[in-house]
């Protein structure tokens, strides 16, 4: 369902939007397993499948926030298990620095999640989504960008 501006402002109805970038080989398969095992998890998460967590450019994360995500998750294979041997190690370095940069600029680092979920961890996936959705709900709508846009519109 497309959220309108109205129900975004109405906290009773408001559902967080979480964009998740999952690597094809572990986390996506993990999420798939959760589905196949009929484990339910909130529909707040919008999954985008990528070959590897190493493919995640910080630009993807920024763009998600720009387009209205309240939280972004990047998930890949556990260290040592990356299908391309080291994509997740590179991602770990880069994304940690990225989170620090965003936090320095005033974006709540809790809005940017990073996890390792293997193809066998369907249960972990469903629990994780449950947990971060609860956290996202607590944090409320991500307003930095819309707010900034509003300031400009009113000028």
């Amino acid at each position: 369902m497309i959220q309108t501006k109205h129900d975004q402002d109405d906290t009773a109805q408001w559902q967080p939007r979480i964009v998740a970038f999952l690597c094809n080989w572990c986390s996506y398969a993990g999420a798939d397993l959760a589905g196949m095992s009929r484990l339910s998890y909130p529909a707040s998460i919008k999954i985008i499948r990528l070959p590897c967590s190493g493919k995640v450019d910080p630009m993807f994360v920024l763009k998600s926030f720009e387009r209205g995500a309240d939280m972004v998750l990047v998930s890949g294979c556990h260290p040592g298990d990356c299908h391309y041997t080291s994509g997740n190690y590179h991602a770990r370095r880069k994304l940690k620095a990225f989170r620090e940069l965003m936090s320095f600029l005033g974006v709540d680092p809790r809005r940017f999640k990073f996890s390792w979920v293997s193809a066998a961890e369907g249960a972990k996936w469903s629990k994780l989504v449950e947990e971060i959705t609860a956290e996202a709900r607590e944090l409320g709508p991500f307003r930095t960008f819309p707010e900034a846009a509003k300031t400009e519109a009113s000028q």
Partner: protein
């Protein structure tokens, strides 16, 4: 003779010799000019013109930015006048294989700091005596002690604030950005032929001077320079809107030093943190 005049003389002499002996086709240096706030760059191709070269506390520019420009490269072997801090940018260009050492000649100049009130980078400078140059001119200068302290003071001052305060601060600052990209043009390390802000399929960064695109632009600029920026301060100096870009650069540089014991541009052989990884990197903050 004043120290400045004698430095100018050695610069002119060195450049004239290199040009007349055909060692280089071009010398890029500074031409201190009466009444100017800044000593502009000068491109010297004949021994006579070399007389214009000089060095003083108005030589802010980091001339290494010209080394990779196609116009300069097609002229042939180039000598460039560099301060100790500028050498760090040259080192990054070398380590990233943008230029080859044999294609350039480095004329180092000892520097006592630039600016009437010395620039922040000069108060924490630890490279007043340029390293790795082909020639070094100028009188010996004092190397300030305890330079490491305060290296990241601008970033630290902001880190102490709360998240909300920081957001408010940066929102105000970045709202000012007019997207002139002067910060990019002046950066010796922003050498991409096509910058991400110019890519339009898809449009990664909104191009109008709108708060949304402004944040993305400034995040991208900072992130693409993480582990590469040498803190020359040029971006902040040229920003017409006085956005404290140096604080963002410092934040990333501090991270690199704290996490990976790395300072960019200290040698042409170094390996930047983002070109490699360690299996021992922390899993902290990962679910």
């Amino acid at each position: 003779m004043s120290p400045e005049a004698s430095t100018a003389q050695s610069l002119a002499q060195t450049a004239a010799e290199m040009l007349s002996q055909g060692q280089v086709a071009l010398v890029i240096g500074y031409a201190p000019t009466e009444g100017k706030r800044l000593s502009p760059p000068v491109f010297v191709t004949t021994p006579e013109e070399a007389q214009r070269l000089g060095f003083d506390s108005r030589c802010f520019g980091n001339l290494s930015v010209y080394l990779w420009s196609p116009q300069v490269r097609q002229m042939g072997k180039t000598a460039v006048v560099v301060k100790g801090c500028d050498v760090r940018a040259v080192n990054v260009l070398l380590r990233e294989n943008v230029i080859k050492r044999e294609d350039i000649v480095l004329i180092g100049v000892r520097c006592g700091g630039v600016g009437d009130l010395p620039a922040h980078k000069c108060t924490v400078c630890d490279c007043r005596d340029p390293q790795g140059c082909d020639v070094v001119v100028g009188d010996a200068v004092d190397q300030p002690d305890g330079a490491a302290e305060g290296r990241y003071s601008a970033a630290e001052a902001l880190e102490e604030k709360s998240l909300d305060e920081r957001r408010e601060f940066w929102q105000r600052q970045l709202d000012k950005c007019i997207r002139c990209y002067a910060c990019r043009q002046v950066c010796p390390l922003c050498y991409c032929k096509r910058c991400i802000v110019e890519k339009s399929t898809p449009q990664w960064v909104e191009t109008s001077a709108h708060p949304r695109g402004n944040l993305s632009w400034n995040v991208v600029r900072a992130f693409h320079l993480a582990g590469r920026c040498v803190g020359c301060g040029e971006c902040e100096r040229v920003c017409p809107m006085n956005i404290p870009l140096g604080a963002i650069n410092q934040k990333m540089a501090k991270l690199m030093e704290d996490e990976y014991d790395f300072r960019s541009g200290m040698s042409p052989e170094e390996k930047a943190p983002f070109t490699t990884f360690s299996t021992d990197d922390t899993d902290e903050g990962i679910l």
